[in-house]
């Protein structure tokens, strides 16, 4: 699966906007994940579940930083996320279904923060991009 030139342009344009508030977007994405899909809490047993907690914010920033790395290395997402791929497969052992749930929550967050930019084309590009990120993160699962 690879993104078209147009899709890449859309991803990078939106990323420029995301970068200005990436910590809040990351925090809100995780807040939505843990609120709408409480089964995901199992992967964060050490977290304080208050939505404004420092842990949620710090972890959200890490998630967004990784997504940013993937966006900036869109020709080689496998290489950019190799270490994270191993971590999710061997140490964290996150069930792959959760990547879809996180992707959904990120897209909802983007839709609320950038409604005018979240056109059908942008939605399609981001769904495809997050699907690529998810498949890279699960490619070491065997």
């Amino acid at each position: 699966m690879s993104l078209t030139t147009n899709e890449r342009t859309i991803i990078l344009a939106m990323w420029d906007k995301i970068a200005t508030e990436s910590e809040e977007i990351g925090r809100e994405t995780l807040d939505r994940l843990l609120t709408v899909f409480p089964q995901a809490k199992t992967y964060f047993p050490h977290f304080d579940m208050n939505s404004r907690s420092a842990q949620l914010r710090a972890h959200g920033a890490k998630v967004m930083s990784a997504i940013g790395d993937a966006a900036k290395n869109i020709d080689n997402v496998s290489g950019a996320l190799a270490r994270l791929s191993e971590m999710h497969a061997y140490i964290l052992r996150v069930d792959p279904v959760n990547f879809k749930l996180l992707s959904h929550c990120l897209l909802v967050t983007l839709a609320t923060h950038f409604p005018a930019d979240f056109t059908a084309e942008a939605h399609e590009a981001w769904d495809k991009f997050m699907s690529l990120v998810s498949s890279v993160l699960t490619e070491k699962y065997r």
Binding site: T35, T112, P115, F118, A120, H123, E124, D127
Partner: protein, 167 residues
């Protein structure tokens, strides 16, 4: 009295666990229902606009779903897609009025989707995903995590009722 689900906790759902959706169906709490009804009131007669947009998005983002809509004209703005969007909106409004007996209220639609159209249950989840995104961008100020959860539960219930034929 209808049993209430828990707020923010993994309570037992009214619906059957597992099944076509592969996960437990959470009951809508009183709070969930109030949130969904509030947004429905706010949308007024525009529900069809948003369900149409969700249909436009699903066939663009998930092209495999096009198989279910042939031979409709699926281009953005098409009259046929708009007409279909209105049908989806009407069905959701019926569902909101029959949360206690969704399988009965939606039985004809359930038969249509399972026996005639043979829609894969994951497609309902994809349409739910697209509708949630559509509503999030049109009502960003209303789309708190709690509203997101309430709408997700409502749409999951509808999907479960549609994917589980009666009799």
């Amino acid at each position: 009295m209808r049993p209430r689900g828990g707020e923010g906790r993994g309570g037992e759902g009214r619906g059957r666990a597992g099944g076509a959706l592969g996960s437990a169906v959470m009951a809508l709490s009183a709070g969930d229902e109030a949130l969904v009804r509030a947004l429905w009131r706010k949308m007024g007669s525009n529900v069809g606009v948003y369900t149409t947009e969700a249909l436009e998005r699903i066939v663009l983002a998930f092209p495999s779903t096009r198989i279910y809509f042939a031979p409709l004209d699926l281009s953005p703005g098409s009259m046929q897609l708009r007409a279909h969007g209105k049908k989806v909106a009407a069905a959701l409004s019926v569902a909101l009025g029959h949360l206690d007996d969704l399988p009965d209220a939606l039985s004809a639609l359930s038969d249509l989707h399972t026996r005639q159209l043979r829609v894969d249950p994951t497609s309902f989840q994809l349409l739910g995903h697209c509708l949630l995104l559509t509503l999030a961008r049109h009502y960003p100020g209303d789309f708190s995590p709690a509203m997101h959860r309430a709408l997700h539960r409502f749409l999951t219930h509808v999907a479960w009722a549609l994917a589980s034929p009666c009799g």
